[in-house]
Amino acid sequence: MTTAPPAGRSGVAAVELGPLGLDGGAHVLVKLGLAGLGAGDRLAVRGHHPELAAHLAIWCRQQGHRWHPARAGTGDEPGSGSGPEGGVPGDPIVGLVERGAAASARWQGAERAGHPDPARAHAVVAAPPAHWGLAARGAAVEPGGPEPAFRLARRDEVWTDRAAGLYAQAAAGQWDPATAIDWSLPIGHSPEVEAAVVQVMTFLVENEEAALVVPARFLGQVHPHFREMQQALAVTVADEARHIEVFTRRASMAGRPLALSTVGGRASLQTLLDEPDFSTASFLLSVMGEGTFVSLLSFLERHAPDPLTRRIAHLTRNDEARHVALSLAHLEQHVTADPALRGRLTRAAEARHRALQATAGLNEDVFDALVLLAAGEASPTAIASGWRHVQALQAEMADGRRARLARLGFGTDEAEAIAALHTRNFM
């Protein structure tokens, strides 16, 4: 059963269906045979399914083609038994399908929705129309149809040329909590230090919840034309889901209940959830918050008292660094296109600071837990060491914020001022 486009001794294109009927998929071969023909052109159909002619009559009526059954003894090479190319045993022609105009109507006026490769010129357009909707970038989009309201539908607002690369890195960097971490590693420190670890893990979980919910809320608003950004955000959400799992599991390892979640901590995170603008939310969450978190996780990787916690911190820090890189890349591009964005970001940082002035800032228990955790034991010498490590962490966090703000084009004084406004809750 093969299609034989330029065939037939009569010069008419032909398709050979053998025993196949249209109740078994033969229309696919007929369509392939018609594909190269124009409206009004005819395709000879050969086959020996007992109901083939009846099937073709129905199918042509439904598809807008015209069916010309071969009258007995008048077909092309009637009963000759030779195939369209000659020499190949074949069936007689059961009739001719005359291609109707409707078959190609869907392609008329269809427009190319950019190109799948974002590196190609004009692949990612500035403002994809709403009716492109869920169509693949690069598809030929039939005009008309629904116009889903994707709020993030402007390239300047949502896109970064680094999205594809960061998504590829993220996809390659996925790890399985069940196998990437050796959960049998021993925990040899004292119950006081373990309580500190549990407090820090409890704090990390609620922060990672915010880091999951915020991109998840924007993910559904990104026009699918910006596919790589969608994908990068989707993996971010998946990353946070894993982080929540491993922090919770680590907190529960010694059989202790989880620790305190404070009003101040949750109020600080609530301001992230309340931010309706994608770029501003990215700025507050990733540039200010998650960037700080990378420092915190590096701190845990270096100073946690047990190898299990250090391993968890290592894996999660790599993911968080990628999230920060994605947001920075997107904001750099956005700020370049719209320099006024910087002013809006400054005001957002100020507003968040004002909103949190009445709260207690970082949970004191978390701060103390970090000191004890870094100390590794409850002795004056160890605590003095832990205290110095936490002081260094705070300095590193502030330096990191200033450096990221500088990348977004904020001047030194400006960056200093905004960095100082950051929530005392770290995130």
Binding site: D23, G25, R61, A101, G144
Partner: protein, 285 residues
């Protein structure tokens, strides 16, 4: 107040609202005042048409027969003004299982034939009359196993035919009556396995739905309506989804010779009287 040109249609499926809302918008965009009324049954629609409640009805072939007869009994005349390309030259087929011992219609004597709803032209009236014409009277010559899905919708709902085919494949019937297009549609959806059935006999070609008007309608407005229908192009993305929903590629001018077979079937099976009265027993009203 002068009413817009008003079409009656039967609500056999929720998509009917989408279709006529869409067409109404399209007509409005072409400067043609159009509205529609939905009926729950073709019988109510035909009677409303005679009573002047609507200007045109989108009729099943059986509704055409009844409207024509009701009109004739009242000394009036019905006209078929437009139909879909897919309404022309249909057939119904009587299917048997591929491995069935039945090779000739006469062998159906004493066997069970599954068909659609009592008022389905394509899956009941036409094929049963066809068998009667071949000497096998429904009921006395063979047993009829009917699948009455959405009676009063004239078989527009495909469920009755699907149930008939399922009964055939399950061995609960020896044959099943369906419209030819559904023979392929049921294969595509997997209800019928490839080469699972074969055609025992097939009716002569007939026509299906029609746009019907009566002789008191303003013909200049009707002509404009038909002209607009015939101008709808499958190339037009605004109207293409509606044409797809309604199952056509193009509208064509109406014709009535394709209903002769059904007129005869209605008489033979005593479905309607010559005056359009309903003769079939127990038919819901």
């Amino acid at each position: 107040m002068h009413r817009p040109f008003t079409l009656g249609a039967v609500a056999y499926d929720p998509k009917v609202v989408t279709i006529w809302e869409g067409f109404a918008d399209w007509f409005a965009g072409h400067g043609f005042a159009f509205d529609y009324v939905l009926y729950s049954s073709y019988e109510a629609q035909a009677e409303a048409h005679l009573a002047g409640h609507v200007d045109v009805t989108w009729d099943s072939p059986l509704a055409w027969v009844r409207t024509r007869r009701l009109a004739a009994a009242a000394g009036r005349e019905a006209r078929a003004v437009a139909m879909r390309d897919t309404d022309q030259d249909l057939t119904s087929v009587v299917l048997v299982r591929a491995d069935s011992d039945l090779t000739d219609v006469a062998q159906l004597a004493g066997r069970t034939v599954a068909c659609g709803a009592v008022d389905s032209p394509q899956a009941t009236l036409l094929p049963l009359a066809h068998l009667a014409g071949l000497g096998l009277d429904p009921g006395s010559g063979f047993q009829v196993k009917r699948f009455d899905v959405m009676v009063t919708k004239h078989g527009d709902h495909v469920g009755g035919e699907r149930d008939a085919v399922k009964a055939l494949l399950a061995g609960e019937a020896d044959a099943a009556c369906v419209i030819d297009g559904n023979r392929l549609a049921f294969a595509r959806e997997g209800t019928i396995p490839p080469d699972g059935v074969r055609v025992l006999t097939q009716t002569a070609p007939y026509d299906h739905c029609t746009m019907t008007v009566l002789d008191d309608v303003d013909m200049s407005v009707t002509d404009r309506f038909v002209e607009l229908l015939l101008s709808m192009s499958f190339d037009d993305p605004a109207v293409r989804p509606l044409l797809e929903l309604e199952g056509l590629r193009e509208w064509r001018a109406g014709r009535t010779e394709g209903y002769r077979q059904l007129e005869a079937a209605v008489d033979r099976l005593r479905f309607y009287g010559p005056d359009g009265s309903i003769l079939v027993e127990g038919y819901p009203r």
